[in-house]
Amino acid sequence: MASMLHQIRHQSVTIPAPLPLDSGQRLPAVTIAYESYGTLAADRSNAVLICHALTGDQYVASDHPATGKPGWWARMVGPGKPIDTDRYFILCANVLGSCMGSSGPASPDAASGAPLGMHFPVITIGDMVRAQAMLLDHLGIDRLHAVVGGSMGGMQALAWTAHYPERLGSAIVIASAARHSAQNIAFHEVGRQAIMADPDWQDGQYYGSTRAPAKGLAVARMAAHITYLSEAGLTEKFGRRLQARDIKSFGFDADFQIESYLRHQGLAFTDRFDANAYLYITRAMDYFDLADAHDGRLAGAFVGAKDVRFTLVSFDTDWLYPTAESRRIVQALQSVGAAASFVELSAPFGHDSFLLDVPALDRLVAGALSAGR
């Protein structure tokens, strides 16, 4: 339940300075929840910022407080792992607009104390990154050794290179894109409509009530989850196999394993995510287009980033953010002379490959991180 979700206490900082937003609105103060791993070097040169994806959170390598499951990138981050906590000080902040302790639609209105709901301003990937920069300022970290992210985390990493190139050594962008395509926006709109069509959504003011739009959020997650997997992966994992039965029911139960799996994924998601946060973050992704501010020329976004080392990785089975989107970024980087690395890795898991067991990705991330030292 979303109401339980908001009972969790997170490590956070509230910065009393106003945050001007891309929409023209401003947040009078920003709360940023974050986790850190490793030790900041005396010269503060070893900070690595990890940016999380749409439904990720700051618990990158520690157990999730709501589900108790291991951190979402525990296989990548830890002592002796590719993002080595023995070498680097790793920081991961819950993005602006999310539901794990940072300012978002469940935050209280400054005047009334009631949850903002849809009165929370629409935010962008750029706003998320500006909030992260405020956190770094607060922690006294001028410069990041690297910023690393997959999917929406990669969008934030790219936004970092566009907005704060002088504060970065390198950027590692995995399974991501410099803009949301029509298809990306379309899938997000399906998810948002599922939430808003749920009568329990109550125009977003469900926080104080006994009802929350869990059904709508679950359907949104089901639709999105399909986009994270590959067709071949689904066929291999589920095929047309039936779930706990030998014959079709000729009804609308979850006859097929894939149906049962998606229903489970949808339902489990509602225990750890807030429907309004899902609306806001998907919107931020849809608005993302780094070339927008440069008359449609992506290279314009990277003019200041010549000294940032870029590493981009795509996966051959990822149809959500396909290789062509990474190539487009590489072309823009080459046209401004930035040091760019790019590889398309082969992995069967679709978009989710960046979270899963792909040994080549581990080697790449470790190599790209140590190259800048």
Partner: protein
């Protein structure tokens, strides 16, 4: 590990402090040598396993195909472009040479010389496409789709008005003379530049 002789020559000839693009950089062996002497070296490589290995070594390498993806680099992006043992595998070697000299004023190009005496003899007496140390794969499976000789390459440069700044000819790992290169050189390395 010792560099391949042609790579050692190139590594020695690229001045420190310059910017170089290694086209077909493999797993980054030459780039590592170049970086060691202070060259800002970047790579283009078609094989993802090689690209992964090079990035894991901390190098800047883009996965791509030199038949198409050189077009993404702006004019004069580098001081040197390097194409070692790859020219004969490209779809249109003449166009690749043009691209090399568009993105850099100077380029190193090395290739196995198809007019080496052993190949000539194999063709003359055997009547078959030769399989040698430098051309180790049978005709039907070889990636070398445009075999080229030292004389052919000199002709191409002349036609295009491209200058030869230096040339090195190797028989095994020993140098051989300019005059005898056509039949004695197993492979050739040219440093070429726009006129």
């Amino acid at each position: 590990m010792a560099l391949r002789p042609d790579l050692a020559i190139i590594a020695g000839a690229v001045p420190a402090g310059s910017r170089a693009l290694d086209v077909g950089c493999g797993d980054g062996e030459l780039m590592a040598a170049l970086k060691g002497k202070g060259v800002d070296a970047r790579g283009l490589e078609i094989d993802p396993a090689n690209v992964t290995a090079a990035i894991a070594r901390g190098q800047s390498v883009v996965q791509g195909d030199c038949n198409r993806d050189l077009a993404d680099y702006p004019d004069d992006a580098f001081d040197y472009a390097i194409l070692s043992q790859t020219l004969q595998t490209t779809e249109r070697p003449d166009r690749v040479v043009d691209e090399l000299l568009r993105i850099a004023p100077r380029a190193f190009v090395s290739f196995p010389n198809f007019a080496h005496w052993r190949i000539r003899l194999a063709l003359l007496w055997g009547g078959r496409m030769p399989v040698t140390r430098l051309i180790p794969v049978a005709w039907y499976a070889t990636p070398n789709i445009h075999h080229v000789t030292v004389s052919d390459f000199r002709d191409l440069l002349r036609e295009k008005g491209i200058a030869v700044e230096s040339a090195w000819y190797l028989s095994g790992d020993k140098p051989t003379s300019d005059a005898a290169a056509s039949w004695r050189a197993e492979h050739a390395i040219f440093l070429i530049s726009r006129r």
